[in-house]
């Protein structure tokens, strides 16, 4: 069996069009015949200047060092990615690669590139460019390299065909091609010093270095020769790095930017001229149980204690009190926009500290103390979690950890628990990150027969829909075993003005200029 996706033609990002397209462009999960292509769209009569606020600028614009998340707003404007995600569905869609196909065991992925794409220098985007970028990513220590861990080789089959060979099937790889791992660098200039700060790319914009202040303001000018220029209704795209929410709100109100995330309590100050887009879930906040096997902290190896922790947390209270009600309570970590998520699982651990206390006592671990890193992520929730633990007869001790050591502390093995915010990637990536032996959320590499069996299916089943029951079983098993204590899906609210609208409801979760459109 081969799994394939076939290209669709450029689509327009105007608000109404996007909603229509979201319905029309649903991709089947198992490939087969192509869906109906959207009609050609013409460019809007007047292109607008889009200026948004982001909490961080890009670390580096080197294709081997690209960080996903909000940094993607800038780099994905310069460097085109092989695949993209559909607004409002989150489905993978063609971008620079117009189709893709796995062989039967998922050890070969063939990407068919679109014809006629060029870099901003005028050089063609071809298979050699993709191969050069991928091999460089594989060889260069950095953020992207680890996403090429399963890649054995990359070869150009012909001018527009790339074959990626894997040691074994990597369920996350396709989704990664919508992010840094899928960015295409210009082989002629990729190894030059400029690549980190002003790379040559084939994306819809070029960086206006004269107007850009790195770390503060990034000004991007549209390329009219971009293959999908009609889908980008913006003459310029400016990303202002505004870490302070008040500064961001003031800039929006003063008209210095025309789109920004806004704190819920400030929404009332915005008038009718603002378009509001609420996103219910963009990350999961959870208490990670790092020692799931109880190797160093036997209490946490006892399922009853882990479940007790889940019973102890007043998720509704946290959502209302600490997140202003923006988001959703959850007892599972999979994105509510994905296929693995199961609403029924959210009734597993109704807030019941008494029951939690009984479980802890029954397990014989009452009075246990756990240390946990106190980081910039956890500060807000610390009193609540401390109280939750106290309610079930356990003690939580927060140990201050500097920001640059937060990750090391989580991975060090010195702590039994860790509080985390994690953005969504894809169902396969989230499964691997939380429950595989090499997952970030599972630094001690805990596994058992059930997990092994489920990943055995997941890691060898190329068709995601065929593997879906295993993913769902893994989710249900993880919730039942209480490997983590998920608390809330953190939401957000985008406000925009000047005819700019956000055309995704959060399901795409890939921060690019494609999230924005213009109202007619």
């Amino acid at each position: 069996m081969s799994i394939s996706r076939t290209a669709r033609r450029p689509f327009r990002l105007a608000a109404l069009g996007a909603v229509a397209l979201a319905t029309a462009l649903t991709l089947s999960a198992c490939g087969g015949s192509p869906e109906a292509a959207p009609t050609d769209a013409s460019a809007p009569a007047v292109e607008k200047d889009l200026a948004i606020a982001a909490v961080s600028g890009p670390n580096s614009l080197d294709p081997a060092q690209l960080v996903d998340g909000q940094q993607q707003f800038v780099w994905s404007s310069i460097l085109d990615t092989l695949l993209a995600k559909e607004n409002n569905t989150g489905e993978l869609i063609p971008n620079a690669a117009e189709s893709w196909e796995y062989n039967e065991d998922g050890t070969e992925l063939t990407l068919q590139l679109r014809e006629g794409m060029t870099f901003s220098t005028g050089d063609p985007v071809n298979a050699d460019a993709v191969v050069a970028t991928m091999l460089r990513n594989k060889a260069t220590p950095g953020v992207v390299q680890v996403k090429y861990a399963a890649v054995a080789d990359v070869v150009a089959e012909d001018d527009l065909t790339v074959k990626v060979e894997f040691d074994s099937f990597d369920p996350q790889f396709l989704s990664n091609l919508t992010g840094g791992a899928g960015a295409i660098g210009d082989p002629a200039t990729m190894d030059e010093e400029r690549t980190a700060t002003d790379p040559v790319g084939s994306g819809p914009f070029t960086l206006d270095t004269a107007k850009t202040v790195p770390g503060s303001t990034y000004v991007l000018a549209k390329r009219d020769d971009y293959w999908n220029a009609d889908a980008i209704p913006f003459k310029t795209f400016t990303v202002r790095v505004l870490q302070d929410p008040t500064a961001s709100f003031n800039a929006l109100q003063a008209g210095e930017i025309n789109a920004a995330t806004v704190q819920t309590q400030l929404l009332g100050q915005l008038g009718d001229e603002y378009a509001i887009q609420k996103i219910e879930a963009q990350a999961v906040a959870y208490l990670d149980i790092l020692d799931r096997g109880g190797e160093k902290w036997p209490a946490l190896g006892d399922q009853r204690v882990r479940q007790a922790i889940n019973y102890a947390i007043d998720r509704e209270g946290v959502l209302k009190g600490l997140f202003n009600g923006v988001g959703m309570v959850t007892e599972q970590i999979f994105s509510p926009y994905g296929k693995v998520y199961d609403e029924a699982l959210n009734k597993t651990y109704e807030y019941d500290p008494e029951k939690g206390k009984e479980l802890v006592e029954e397990a014989g671990y009452a009075g246990e103390t756990f240390q946990i890193p106190s980081t910039f992520l956890s500060t807000t929730l610390e009193p609540t979690l401390t109280q939750a633990f106290a309610d079930i007869g356990l003690t939580l001790e927060w140990v201050p950890v500097p920001p640059q050591q937060a990750q090391s502390a989580h991975l060090s093995g010195d702590y039994p628990l860790s509080f985390q915010f994690t953005g969504f990637n894809s169902d396969p990536a989230d499964a691997a990150s939380h429950y595989s032996t090499s997952g970030y959320a599972n630094p001690r590499g805990y596994t058992d027969d059930t997990i092994d069996e489920l990943f055995g299916v997941i890691n060898t089943t190329v068709d995601f829909d065929a593997a879906l029951p295993s993913y769902q079983e893994l989710n249900a098993y993880a919730v039942e075993q209480a490997f983590e204590a998920p608390i809330v899906f953190v939401g957000g609210t985008w406000a925009s003005r000047d005819g700019i609208v956000m055309v995704d409801d959060g399901r795409s979760s890939v921060p690019t200029v494609r999230l924005f459109g213009v109202s007619e």
Partner: protein, 314 residues
């Protein structure tokens, strides 16, 4: 003689910079691996971390790494940011210029306003003194952050006279530059005046009570002449010290101001580098910071010597 003094002071500053940067480097060296993991993100494996450490040269002996950095620094090469790959030296200078372009006008206005208020209060007393002290008190009481937000809401959001955020370089558009720094300068000035006007007032009151003032008065010298030509000159020396301290303090305050107004300045740059553990940037900022403090102190001493012959070196 004077040149030799200046060179000695600058030399001492350089030695201080070497010592401080060495200690900073030693302190940072404990977190090299943490920084490598932070750069790699959530998918950092021990192998990838080790490879990155090797690429960055962080697996070499510390003393070798430090002297490598020092050798580059004395030639003006402070390395590149481990996150952005931007060269540290030019970036620090660029950020410093933004901060200085806010702080220097704020300091100049602070000095002028403080001297006027302080002298007025000390020489007139009564209502003038109460008004001067009232202004100082208000400056102390009103938090700078609150004032900044209030001014932005009124002048940027409502009236749209001034920008709410951002910075325009002077070389690009002087008028836009002036608009972009107006609110930050006002906020810094109010905080500065609150402190400095009280110091000038106190010092002037002391001076005006001295015997030489009484003597000058008995000889018919006008109050204006006594204040401007004699007392103010004597009072200027401690005021200069306060001014240099105020300058350094404004650098600290600039962090808040830069965040609220999204100015791409030195404070926010240093803060973010510290959060991320961007080792070359922290080293560069430390070196520039020490040299800046050295130069400011030197200029203060030279100005003191110019104003007060007793303070001159021989």
């Amino acid at each position: 003689m004077m040149i030799s003094y200046i060179l000695r002071r600058l030399g001492a500053g350089l030695i201080l910079a070497v010592l401080v940067t060495f200690i900073t480097f030693l302190l940072l060296s404990t977190s090299f691996e943490d920084v490598a993991k932070t750069i790699l993100g959530q998918s950092a494996t021990p192998e990838a971390t080790a490879a990155l450490m090797q690429t960055k040269g962080w697996d070499r002996p510390l003393i070798v790494q430090y002297f490598d950095w020092l050798a580059g620094a004395v030639q003006g090469d402070f390395g590149v940011s481990v996150y952005t790959s931007l060269p540290v030296g030019p970036t620090v200078v660029q950020r410093l210029l933004v901060t200085l372009s806010v702080i220097v006008p704020a300091l100049l206005i602070t000095v002028v306003v403080s001297v006027v208020l302080g002298v007025w209060a000390a020489s007139r007393g009564g209502l003038a003194d109460r008004i001067s002290q009232g202004i100082s008190l208000v400056g102390y009481i009103v938090p700078g952050l609150l004032l900044a937000i209030g001014l932005v809401v009124v002048f940027a959001v409502r009236l749209k006279w001034l920008p709410a955020t951002g910075y325009t370089p002077f070389s690009e558009d002087p008028a836009a530059w002036a608009r972009s720094i107006t609110i930050p300068v006002i906020v810094l000035t109010i905080g500065g005046v609150a402190n400095m006007a009280a110091q000038v007032r106190g010092r002037m009151i002391d001076e005006l009570r001295r015997d030489y003032v009484r003597t000058l008065r008995t000889r018919g010298v006008s109050t204006t002449s006594i204040v401007v030509r004699h007392s103010l000159r004597n009072a200027a020396s401690p005021a200069l010290t306060v001014m240099s301290l105020e300058f350094i303090q404004m650098f600290g305050s600039a962090l808040i101001i830069e965040n609220v107004f999204a100015l791409p300045g030195y404070g926010s740059f240093a803060f973010n580098a510290s959060l991320q553990g961007d080792i070359p940037v922290i080293m560069g900022i430390t070196a520039f910071g020490v040299l800046l403090v050295t130069v400011v102190n030197l200029l203060t001493d030279l100005a003191n010597g110019w104003l007060n012959p007793k303070a001159r070196v021989h």
